[in-house]
Amino acid sequence: MPKISRDEVAHLAKLARLAVTEHELDVFAGQLDHILDAVAKVSEVAAEDIPPTSHAVPLTNVFREDVVRPGLTQQQALAGAPAAEEGRFRVPRILGEEQ
């Protein structure tokens, strides 16, 4: 299994939107490496023919009726917002593009 580098940790932090410090990069690189080393053990028994389990209960087809239910008022929706304006959540300027 690959050793995880400081650069990889920086990349992960970026993907996960965590502005980690230089010090954290060092600490996490060591710890993640240690943990990944231990958990890589799963591949020992994960043979090709074993189906993966994504859900603990074997349920299928759980659907809802297409019926409107009362939700939140605008006031309730915005009550926890760090900032709001004109009935909307106010956020700092967005740099990136929509996907």
Binding site: R69, G71, L95
Partner: protein, 502 residues
């Protein structure tokens, strides 16, 4: 704005390259509620009023799938001749964006509900192109952001943004084609025709409002070029959110000429998303694939798998309406239309009205004539939709019937229709009120004929001398005298009969 790109002449593009298309269409379903919660699925409204813990992504909230949305997805899949998955799941597509409340989109990844289908698309000249469908999958829409400050409404230069999550969680179906090859110079037309055909199909299924202007139908166009004779696809670009049928055609054409110029100059096409500029029909560079996110898809643990039974699928298949392409073909054959007439009929948006008029007893040709010509003009004058005119197919059929029985002339019939449009009542009432009945009393007509012949003896002589066409002048005089309420055909008969007698 970046410098204007070099473009290659379109004819030259086609001499040197073969275009390859791929179209991704997002459709907002017209269900009553959102994909995963019971909030109303409504366009617009006061901001953040159709929201709940689930579609706001509040901590602890959970999704539950809207069964109606799954039905719509399966019906779309069936209408697109797709296979329906016997087992499939939702997945999480992980990326951060402020208009996405959970910072993952609940979507389908490698297990779409429908896959491997096709849609036959008819071009303007009647040629049919089969577009193969890769997949149709379910997902949810995002909220909307409003950028405040700086250039109006644009993301660049904005000081801050305002978020409204009314649209967040609205059910979306994404329909993706397989690469469309071999269309040559008609690639832009095929792109437009495909989106048009898809729109008509979705409308017939009644699963979406399919309003491109409101964003309930959105198209992303993938275009690449390969040198003539090559078999390997070139690098593609994806032009996002092209929001009208005409724009689809323009965007594809623009990308073909732009990419050709890049390739001809020895450059490489960058794999990127591009934005269509409505104003000048160009596309501009967006996000490149190098900086693209790693979406880290994994099966959505909060939702259980879907396993539509064969029985359920067959029940849904039974609800499918006649497919637009099949219907087009049936109408062409039944009504004996040329390709051009068929196109005009469909372009007029009068098909349903004509069908209803025919169903009310009118002949197809006459029904079509009324709607596509006279009534279309009336609608145009009033700047109204044809369907919004205050006249019913049944009323039109009655007018046609009155003409057929000789009770109205075509000219009078138009008066009657105008009367109906003016709210004067049923056609028969208009005839009555306006006194528009054809003068069918021969004695009254004969008096008028005699008077006209007497007034123009030279014409009478010409007729007698064998110049039958000269009777037109007498017909005109009689019609004038009867204020047009006579049947011209009968008048002509009487003239010839009278002249022969004299």
């Amino acid at each position: 704005m970046t410098a204007v790109a070099d473009l290659m002449d379109y004819a030259e593009v086609l001499e040197r390259f073969d275009p390859v298309l791929g179209l991704e269409v997002h459709v907002e379903l017209n269900t009553d509620t959102k994909m995963f919660c019971g909030c109303a699925n409504l366009f617009g409204g006061e901001p953040n009023t159709h929201v709940c813990p689930t579609c706001l992504g509040l901590p602890g909230s959970l999704p539950v799938v809207n069964g109606k949305a799954v039905e719509s997805a399966i019906r779309i899949g069936l209408a697109l001749n797709c296979e329906i998955a016997s087992w499939c799941r939702f997945a999480r597509k992980n990326y951060f964006y402020p208009d996405m409340p959970k910072n993952f989109q609940t979507s389908q990844y490698d297990e779409p509900i429908a896959f491997n289908g096709y849609l036959d698309v008819t071009l303007d000249d009647g040629e049919v192109v089969r577009v193969h469908i890769e997949r149709a999958h379910m997902e949810e829409d995002t909220g909307k952001s409003l950028h405040v400050g700086g250039a109006t409404g644009r993301i660049h230069g904005a000081e801050h943004s305002l978020l409204d999550y009314n649209r967040a969680g609205v059910p979306l179906i994404e329909i993706v084609t397989k690469p469309i090859v071999g269309t040559g110079d008609r690639a832009p037309e095929v792109a437009r025709a495909y989106v048009t055909a898809l729109r008509d199909l979705l409308r017939a299924l009644d699963v979406s409002d399919v309003r491109m202007d409101q964003g309930s139908l959105r198209c992303d166009a993938n275009v690449s070029l390969m040198p003539k004779g090559a078999s390997e696809f070139g690098t593609r670009t994806e032009t996002k959110n092209v929001n009208s049928l005409r724009s689809v055609e323009r965007a594809v054409r623009y990308e073909m000429t732009r990419q050709a110029a890049v390739l001809a100059a020895g450059g490489h096409v960058t794999q990127e998303t591009r934005h269509f500029q409505e104003a000048d029909g160009s596309t501009s560079s967006g996000r490149t694939k190098e900086t693209a996110e790693d979406y880290r898809y994994f099966p959505e643990p909060d939702l259980v798998p879907m396993a539509p039974s064969a029985e359920w699928i067959e029940q849904l298949r039974a609800t499918l309406p006649e497919m637009p392409a099949v219907r087009r073909d049936r109408i062409r054959v039944e009504w004996e239309l040329t390709a051009e007439e068929l196109r005009d009929l469909f372009n007029s948006g009068a098909v349903e009205l004509v069908e209803a008029t025919v169903a009310a007893g009118a002949k197809p040709g006459e029904a079509r004539g009324w709607w596509v010509n006279f009534l279309a003009q009336e609608a145009n004058t009033r700047e109204a939709e044809l369907t919004a005119l205050p006249i019913t197919p049944k009323q039109v059929a009655r007018v046609i019937e009155l003409v057929g029985s000789g009770e109205l002339t075509n000219k009078l019939a138009r008066e009657v229709v105008k009367g109906v449009l003016a709210g004067e009542g049923e056609p028969d009432e208009v005839v009555e009120k306006r006194g528009l009945k054809v003068v069918s009393d021969d004695s009254a007509l004969l008096a008028a004929v005699d008077a006209a012949l007497a007034a123009q003896p030279d014409v009478a002589d010409k007729i007698r001398g064998g110049k039958v066409q000269a009777a037109g002048a007498i017909v005109g005089a009689v019609m004038k005298a009867t204020k047009g309420q006579a049947d011209a055909k009968r008048v002509r008969e009487l003239i010839l009969q009278r002249v022969a007698e004299q």
